[in-house]
């Protein structure tokens, strides 16, 4: 079982990204769940979402406390309490930032791998609005290969209609531009 926790802000589309990923995984024949810890749905407020992926039926419906992967749609969330909590040793952090992964090492003591992407820049360029969810999906796929890019593109076509093309373009750009960083053995 692979457990992913998404941290975003209201309006960035973290919940939608979690759902697109799960739908893609299900379309590839595996089992998946996507859900959110819904709060008051305010624009800009911190949002938590979750995706579980498995080869067999998923029974549990608890929230995810010890994720394999943490995806952060806004680097300013990194300083918030609890964002890095519970990451499994050697786990992956996918982060929207224009900085280098090294700048964040100290915040994620257990991380074994970082994928950084300037998703805000890509979103502004491709969509004309700072909705970073689809760009960060490209980075997640690049870092983990958890689903095929083409599968996600199909899901987005279904879901976004006339906005699909721009979002697909954002995912592709992000996939290409993502920087991967292995932390190596850490204390």
């Amino acid at each position: 079982m692979l457990e992913i926790r998404w941290h975003g802000r209201g309006g960035q589309g973290a919940v939608t990204a979690a759902e697109i990923l799960a739908t893609g995984v299900i379309n590839e024949g595996k089992y998946a769940q996507a859900f959110a810890a819904f709060g008051p749905e305010r624009r800009g407020a911190p949002v938590l979402a979750f995706t579980r992926i498995s080869d067999s039926e998923i029974l549990t419906r608890c929230q995810i406390y010890e994720p394999d992967i943490i995806v952060i749609l806004d680097k300013n969330l990194c300083t918030m309490e609890g964002v890095g909590d519970g990451l499994k040793k050697g786990g992956t952090v996918v982060l929207n930032t224009n900085q280098k992964a090294e700048d964040f090492l100290y915040m994620f003591k257990n991380a074994g791998k970082f994928a950084t992407i300037d998703a805000t820049e890509i979103a502004l360029r491709e969509l004309g609005t700072p909705i970073t969810n689809t760009s960060i999906l490209g980075a997640l796929v690049r870092a983990t290969g958890v689903v095929r890019l083409e599968t996600l593109e199909e899901v987005m076509k279904q879901r976004f209609g006339q906005y699909a093309e721009k979002n697909i373009s954002a995912v592709r750009s992000a996939f290409k531009e993502t920087a991967l960083f292995e932390t190596g053995e850490r204390e």
Binding site: I58, R61, Q63
Partner: protein, 388 residues
Amino acid sequence: MNKKVGISGNYAVAYAVKMADVDMIAAYPITPQTTIVEKLSEFVANGELDASYMNVESEHSAISACIGASLTGARVFTATSSQGLALMHEILFMASALRTPIVMANVNRALSAPLNIWNDHSDAMAQRDSGWIQLWARSAQESFDDTIEAFKIAEETRLPVMVNLDGYIVSHMYEPVELPDEEDVRKFIPSRPLENRVSIKNAHAVGVVGPPEYYYEMKYQAIDAIERSRHKVKEIENDFNRRFGKNYREIEAYGMEDAEAALILMGSIFGSAKEIANDLRGKGRKVGVVSLRVFRPFPAQELREALDGVKAVGVVDRATTPGGSGNPLYTEIATALYGMPERPAIQGFVAGLGGRDMREDDFRLMYSATEKAAREGAGRCIYVGLRE
């Protein structure tokens, strides 16, 4: 060919309603409404579903409109949640007493105050005496399947059916759902004209005064109907299982072949409870879990059979009866088990109120406390996860 898709519990219900080819949907569109009716209004607007869609000014009006439409013989649907269900309260009793086969999805959420839109069972439990059949889904798949079954149960018993699905944990969770062929669904629930009780040609007066000389008899008709619905529910479930390759029962159990301590619960926490039971059983502990898929009519006989030989049961209530002799599920189960010659100890739990996440440790605690009740007898109700 079945089609496997990744959708939320809400959408699963909407797809089921579409396949059931309903004639009329009445719903209040604002909080605490869910995307069930949003999706349905989309279907109607797109022409994918040929139904009359009525946006009303409150849930009270939604269910009232459903009764009116149902009396004309139409297949009707509405959906609501928490405060919306509470606002329907007085009309729910009319729906059952007037014998209108309405199907309603209720996304289970807490009742205010404090204002809370998250999952627990307060809303449905507060309506347990309204004469509605209550089905309890545990996943998006069951939300779909139960909704399909609900139309058949409603129309064959002429009683309203409430399909309950846990707020967010099922309603908003994306997960795999196998959608059957629409044709097979139509064969299971063919659109057959129900009796039109208010047509000009067949004029009836409905919703009349029932003075003391008549109220009692009329009330008893609805009581008798839900009692008799027991075998209907079973029969329809069996038919559904055969046609769609499922294995649904009013009660579903795990590990009960040798369990000495068992949790009893409803809704989506079954999965987590089963997973922990599986883990504990691997360590040699004789625990099991029973979930109720049907709460009304209450499957007391099936429950007694499932619990035969168990030393203690732990009842997980996700709603409370303040000042009562037990919480809603607890009192039902205590009543059902009272007549057993060797009845188990019954330990009460309250957990997951107002959307409080139920974690693995919570289930471990409940299994341990139930095992303790098996050894030492049950103690007072345990409020799991409550901060002191």
